[in-house]
Symmetry: C2
Subunit: 112 residues, 2 copies
Amino acid sequence: MKQAIVARADLNMGEGKLAAQVAHAALMAYEDADRQSQSAWKGSGQKKVVLQADGEAALFKLADKAEREGLPHAIVRDAGHTELEPGTVSALAIGPASEGAIDRVTGDLSLY
Amino acid sequence: MKQAIVARADLNMGEGKLAAQVAHAALMAYEDADRQSQSAWKGSGQKKVVLQADGEAALFKLADKAEREGLPHAIVRDAGHTELEPGTVSALAIGPASEGAIDRVTGDLSLY
């Protein structure tokens, strides 16, 4: 089991900002998962990988793929209080789900 | 309502690694909170701040303070698969709780 969080590298977020967006996405996708996946993932150490993509279109494309695969997922829009414009799409989390299922969606992406 | 996540700046984690540790801590502390705090926080936009501290001792001291204030919190130890030694304490999340209660514990810390 794992969860993948894909953040936009093209926004050049500061590292604290990036971490907050990733945490936000992780929590939202976790809540979108069924109880069984939540438990299995927590029991196996809550594995997370943080990946990168360039641009909003890439995140929406991945979200669409996750949707078609029936995977829990969530897109984050920043409230825009600090670095980003309000409503900026900053990150997407997919899972927790099986490693194979996650890799089918995010397999081509590089680590952030 | 907010959640503060305090990460160790002295470990010089890469930004993807840092984001994963922060997400891990955020989710664990969220699960430590009661349902009412969880709902209130989510309803108000899930505010998160990422702060920095130097060293394990600083995190334990803050966790102790959070414990005495009765605030939900969680410390993350890294599994050590990649950048860090196994068992390294990397981050602490406190809340969701009221902004005032969080600030009483983390008020002196700088943004990461």
